[in-house]
Amino acid sequence: MKPDNKPPSKVTLDDLFALKRAEQPPEEFWSDFQRGFHVRQRAEAIEPKRWWFVLPRVFAGFSRYQMPIGAAAVLAVTFLSFREYREPGFEVAYSAPQALPAVTEIEPAVESVPVAVARMPLPNAMDFSEVAPLGFVAEQIETAVASAEPSQPVELTPMVVWAGPSAAAIEAVASVPTPSERSIAANLAAAQAEQLQVGRLLGEPELDLAAAITNSETLSEVSVPEPTRERLFVYQSSPADFSVDRENNSGRDTHSLIANRISQDELYDSVGRVSAGANHVTVKF
């Protein structure tokens, strides 16, 4: 049979796949491949294994407990989230009713010095050596008040570096049962921390405010200012008081003079707001 008379054969899809199958690299490719593989194999062998590579093997035995462990984890997270939500924490700002009378209303005779607040921002480094002692601060207050116009109120805000509540304070807050008591305890702890900082600044011994407040009598029964309260509100006074004190000063220090001028009732009434920030506590009067 002549080639021209040969019946035309049919090329099928399988034939084309056979051609694809025949696409192969030359022999030298495999020697390079093997060499490259050995290089990478050695590199992988000396590379330190990451700690998380071990985890699948560590937890391989726990595979049958996946459901209970997962459920327990979800419950734990839910419980902790709920508990966290309920806790008042120390970022509590207690606001007294705004209707509280200002000092000017209590003492109308004194010309408009409603607020006595010292603003003493401290650097974060807490370098107490650079902080002025009490005498210097008191002098500053005295000067500021004396130089102020009688009609212009002097506003000084006490700002003390917030060192955070102590462990005992946290425990005390956590131990009280009701939210309101917890809130009060949190504010007290904040004030305690503030007092601690002020005490360090002024070089005075640490006072237990909680004990002082809980052990004290009601306001109506208070007759003599206690040392703790003197210290608490040491900066509160009026220009008139200062001027009188300066004139009648007979050996006592300014601290005592200022403190003795303040009645207990006035101190309690004038507390307007206690708030705790990230690194400070502010008590506004």
Partner: protein
Amino acid sequence: MSVASKVLGKTLVSSAERRQEADSDWAVVQRVQNGEVGAFDQLVIRYRERVYGVVYNMTSNREDAADLTQDAFIKAFKSINRFQGQSSFFTWLYRIAVNSALSHLRKAKLRTFFSFEKIVEDDKTTEILSQLTDKHGADREVYVRELQEKLNEAMQKLSIKHRTVVTLFEIDGLSHEQIAEVAGCSVGTVRSRLHYAKQILQAELQSYLNA
């Protein structure tokens, strides 16, 4: 491919040979697991061409195929202690290689370019090529090159999943069950994908298939 037998030009391996192959692989794997790292070379030499063929026909790029084949063997080597022999080693290795290729193809979807291996001619391929060139009366070298490009284009027109199935079944000669195991789908899905893919290829390569 020492244990593979060529039937009608397609790489088909009987189940008895597969079993024998699997037993042999498992013995080598156990040696590697016991610290004889050099034994892993036997597995590489045994499967490198088949793994390369699968990856090459999935990517249509010889450089990518070489890298991905090495990656597959490195991954298998690193994970060999976790291989428990529940499936055959070659299925496990294929799964690693196919997953590496799929991951690569998804990442490199927009920057695909082809590079071909030369067709290694034997009796079968020579006959096919003769039929094609005689029919078209073209220069053989040019025609083969053009045919390769056309075949690769047709393969790349398939989706990644369809291409995988076609490659494993038509080119590497795996059974439907083995493909289902490697690709992680049912046998019915494999059959369906294969049928659809062949329809597409038939349409794309119609000019080469007419009598």
